[in-house]
Amino acid sequence: MIHIDWILIIVAGWLTLGIWALFVLKHMQFIARRLFPLGALLGLALAGVALDATFSTPEVAELVIGLPGLPFHLRLDPLSAFFLVVIGAGAFGTSMFSAGYFRTGEGTPPGLLCLEYHVFLAAMAMVALADDGYAFMVMWETMALASFFLVTANHRVAAVRKAAYLYLLVAHVGAIAILLCFGVLQANTGDYTFANLRAQQLGPLWSSIAFGFAVFGFGAKAGLVPLHVWLPEAHPAAPSPVSALMSAVMLKTAIYGLLRVAFDLLHGGQWWWGEVLLGLGLASALLGVVFSTVQTEMKRLLAYSSIENIGLIVTGLGLALIFRAYGMSTLAALALSAALVHVLAHAFFKSLLFLGTGAVLHATGERNLGKLGGLIRSMPWVAWLVLVGVLAGSGLPPMAGFVSEWLLLQSFLFTTVLPNSFLDMLIPLVAAAVALVVALAGYAMVKFFGVVFLGQPREEKLLRAHDATGFERIGLAWFAVGSLALGLFPVPVIDLVDRVTQRLVGSGLAQTVHANGWLLLAPTGVERASYSPVAFLGGVAAGTFLGLLIARRLYRGTLRRAPPWACGYAGGTARMQDTAEGFGQPIRQIFEPFFRLERDLPSPFDARPHYRVLIEDRIWHGVYLPIGRLVDLAARGVGLLQQGRISIYLLYSFVTLIVMLMLVRL
């Protein structure tokens, strides 16, 4: 049995779990305690098989379903295997967490929720396998549809319905763009298998058009800047395990699609493509991180941070495209590895953060940062595991987030050798922006952890918050250990990623990295740059131990508990702490032009002072509402056609007849 058959069995397994759940529609306990863990184990199996498949030769299979002339072609090559690893790992952790999380049906009957969840997973896995236009489109939109129904789990809330509608609409428009992209790629051969698309030699114009459609289509699903408005609405609306899956894994299928089209089907193409991706990625990163620092609702904060991380990944892809266009395959491999490592790292720490918010939401029923705080005392397990995610999220050294940031900054440093002088000027600015983005991400993560878990609890009921249960802990622990392990042992990850870069850009980092053993990461030679996370953690631990040793030898050994000092002001209530708006206030002031601010500040003579700050996205008002108004105008124009008078209708028929007759006579 070759790998691809095992994967198909796992996907079939997921579907049977879903259908099985239909028959036990209302048995919450059975579904949560039996079906979800089974789904998790299948996810783990998928990750294992995919891991092994990355290191083996590509395999092809054909399913009988599909159009009569075009059955489903499937292909498992290192690129799809890598993304299947991401899907499998994400599925395992999230399913384990869901086993403990889903106590009430969240609005829809639990059986239906389980079906949609597993169809969602199966569709994502099949998207990575699809090897022809039709199969890809069917699996792509089934994924969008399944996630739509998951987002509308508790559809009684009007905001959830609005968010879900916007999500499916943007996803559908994106899918249309992808269909057009495949249409252009097939270049009049009518054969939609990727093998044929790969063989086509398109001229610069048509390949650029295809690339444009691909960026639009996959950007709509990934949340690149102009098409990102659905993400901060849809992710918070979904139940937490689903928003974890959507943020950590579904966005990566869009990255997979972009890689498949740009690198595999279009063979890299022109250099300015990299520039476009660089620009879009940077804009998304900056906008995402700035908006995430000013949010007052925890899941929206994480959703915007997903946009930021996707922006960083796409910046890495852009750089790889530029290098590839100038023929520097090793540097292209460096940039591409940075992007792919970030894909894996983000999948782990973002799932951890979203599942953390899920645990908090379940324990307190609150999602607004203004009503949380001090949960580290009542929910230690969740707090300390989420701390690992926060450190990884802000790209701090021993953790996973830092490795990809380190590789990305390294790849920026070597762009000086580019022949194009304009590009040489531009690259330092982009490097500076990336540094700023990562720093701001740290700011957002500190705000998230500090306001939710530290300080005084802002509501009484927070004291009675119960900690995560058994299954939930396994899920959180899996992602925490994953974030730490990815951070500490980057060399095996580089080996995995190297298999993908070999196929896409022709060279990889494996040899140079292996020269220095599996502890030290020195992608381009030790003398240029090297980073050994294990030694780094060892150094910090040694220093801390040294400090403890010194303190223990010198100190008097007593410790007294007393009310906090607070400069002598006694009786500090929880409301005197910094609120989420307060913590974000400096950013709001510095990055004023980014937001669309509506502020009503109470006047001194106001009997009932009311303070409200509403931060909105300029793009929503600048781009989306005008389009809506335009379509309405067109609809009203067309409406004139049906005015109700029968003589006018007869006139239409009469005039059409006369015109057609004239045409025939010419």
Binding site: G644, S647, F654
Partner: protein
Amino acid sequence: MRALLGQSINLYAAFLLIVSFAMISQRRILSLVHLYTTQGVTLVLATVTVAYLTNQPHLFASAAITFVLKVVLIPILLHRVIDRLDVRWDVEPLINIPTTMLIGIVLVVFAFNLALPIAQLSSSIARSTLGIALACVLLSFMMMIVRAKAIPQVIGFLAMENGLFFAATSATNGMPMIVELGIALDVLVGVLILGVFMFQIREQFDSLDIRHLERLREE
């Protein structure tokens, strides 16, 4: 004698065109019904002539059906509807009569040069009548558009059927029997249903003005 009869078909065609023009410029409903009846009579004569010339027995049967239907049955029905609903007042055209006449002439010219190439090819006796038949159809179509009342619209619809029937008999020496029967049956049932509708509209809106029927529209 046969040549004379051949020309008589052209005469009937010309007479039919004149009646169509008259119907457009007519103001009173009763005279509209009378004109419709005369059209029916012309049709019967034309069919008989063609039947005689091409000695096809089934055309005599179809002429008989046309006579019963379009000269006897439908006019009686229209008269009864007019009496029961006492709609005697004259017809309100949406645009004034002179302009309709002008458009009518343009339509006739268009129909003629449209039918010209076909006329040369068709082998039947009365080739040129096809243009006139098409003109009658377009004229009655235009009459339906400009009339604001239900009954003139119905009469326009029936005149259009007459034009088609005349085209069928004159240009192609008559369609197969089954088809003729089917068309006649459809026209009869159509008229019955229209009668029922007119009673319902009258009862619903207590007026037969089409302008009441304009509620279903897009904002």
